[in-house]
Amino acid sequence: MEKRNAKAGSLESSDLLVVIEENKPGEELEIVMHSIVEKQYGDRIVQIAHEIATQKGLANVRILIQDRGALDYAIRARIETAMERFERGL
């Protein structure tokens, strides 16, 4: 039940909470995204997360994004921070 993770953000309106978890060995990058604006912006949010993870070379992780209508740059900042925290924790 207990897994190592790193997080950034909150569940406040116009913010998002990003959680990076270690995935099981052999599993690929996995992005789980829930958003109140999923229909309109869901694909875009996943794309941003994918871009940043690829840049950083993070492969064996699961990224959970719980979005409450954040703007692009907030999404980027939260994801980057969570990933940096995750890497520092390694």
Partner: protein
């Protein structure tokens, strides 16, 4: 507005008392003694909102009526989720009234069950019921036909459990035995599932599976472990609904088998809930009479009692050879010592 959420030191009796009286005075809510962490929002010296958790379950959420609409819910629950994540709990559950479902959905919780009952179970995180169902589907075996399910704790595995599973095995194409995974019993989950596996090895149409998070776990069924009776009926019905709605269809389960319950109020209520809810999903319930040894009903609690008293004769009569071998082994020593020292029913 200061909506700062503070972690409360519940080891401090004075602090704990403030939460207890807030919950009691404003909401008539009780405070579970097994609470691991409590969070509060305060205005001056007064608590205006609180939430708690133990393990991966959020509970005792209350917000003072006078402060509704001030946006306390998001910081309170957000902080609770963050604190749970910090402790490595990434799959989070909450029980709530159906009326509150939408509030939780706004924060990313997803409904697991609670269509037919007075309580709903929601979950949060990257894990979830859909993922579990996909993994469970891999365990499906046998021809299309009448599959059965048995859910057992086996603390420890007795001749009674064996009898129940044999009955199911002789009348079904396939039998799935779910072993309750929550660690609230004297025998640990690893010990319990191994005793079951050893004990049914010869039954070729029986598969033994871990109960996971959705079958009588601390999430679906907290009263099973805390014995607060007011919630018992609702929670047993919720557990039954999750089984019927999500688990049974994945494995083609058409019948659930249980032992008749002569003593334990919790188990009896559970059996009644199963009967009521499973019927709505066209799943049958078979209630099997308990077997006796020397006029005494065989049960895991009777075995534990005998272990406690050092009455190895009774233990030997009530458990199959496989369990007897385990109990007599070096590996079980620690657990047996624990049983002798404790008065717990579980």
């Amino acid at each position: 507005m200061n909506n700062k959420v503070r972690l409360m030191d519940i080891k401090n009796e004075a602090e704990k008392k403030r939460v207890i009286s807030f919950l009691d005075e404003s909401f008539g809510l009780g405070y579970d003694e097994d609470t691991e962490q409590t969070l509060v929002v305060e205005r001056g010296d007064s608590i205006v909102a609180t939430a708690s958790f133990s393990g991966n379950v959020i509970k005792q959420i209350a917000i003072d009526e006078k402060f509704r609409g001030e946006g306390l819910t998001a910081p309170l629950l957000g902080e609770t989720v963050r604190e749970m994540l910090s402790r490595g709990r990434s799959h989070i559950f909450v029980f709530t009234k159906p009326a509150n479902i939408e509030i939780f959905k706004g924060l990313g919780f997803r409904k697991v069950g609670g269509t037919l009952t007075d309580a709903a179970l929601l979950e949060w995180g990257s894990e979830g019921i859909d993922k579990y169902k996909k993994e469970l589907a891999i365990s499906r075996f046998g021809e299309e036909g009448s599959a059965s399910a048995v859910v057992v704790n086996c603390n420890p595995f007795t001749k009674g459990h064996r009898h129940l599973i044999e009955c199911a095995s002789s009348e079904s194409e396939a039998v799935y035995v779910f072993v309750v995974e929550t660690e609230k019993s004297l025998f640990q989950f690893d010990e319990r599932i191994e005793m079951v596996r050893e004990g049914v090895k010869d039954l070729v149409n029986v598969a033994v599976l871990p109960g996971g998070q959705y079958i009588i776990s601390s999430a679906t069924f907290p009263s099973y472990f805390t014995h607060s009776k007011d919630l018992l009926r609702v929670q047993t019905e919720l557990d039954a609904e999750i089984f019927a709605e999500h688990i049974a269809p994945v494995l083609g389960i058409e019948k659930r088998w249980v032992g008749r319950e002569p003593y334990c109020q919790v188990t009896e209520t559970y059996n009644n809930a199963l009967k009521k809810i499973l019927g709505l999903y066209n799943i049958k319930l078979s209630v099997i009479n308990r077997i006796k040894e020397d006029e005494k009903i065989v049960s895991a609690s009777a075995v534990r009692e005998a272990l406690r008293m050092g009455d190895m004769d009774t233990v030997r009569k009530m458990v199959p050879q496989t369990t007897w071998e385990y109990i007599s082994s070096e590996r079980a020593k620690h657990t047996i010592e624990k049983i002798k020292k404790t008065l717990s029913r579980h």
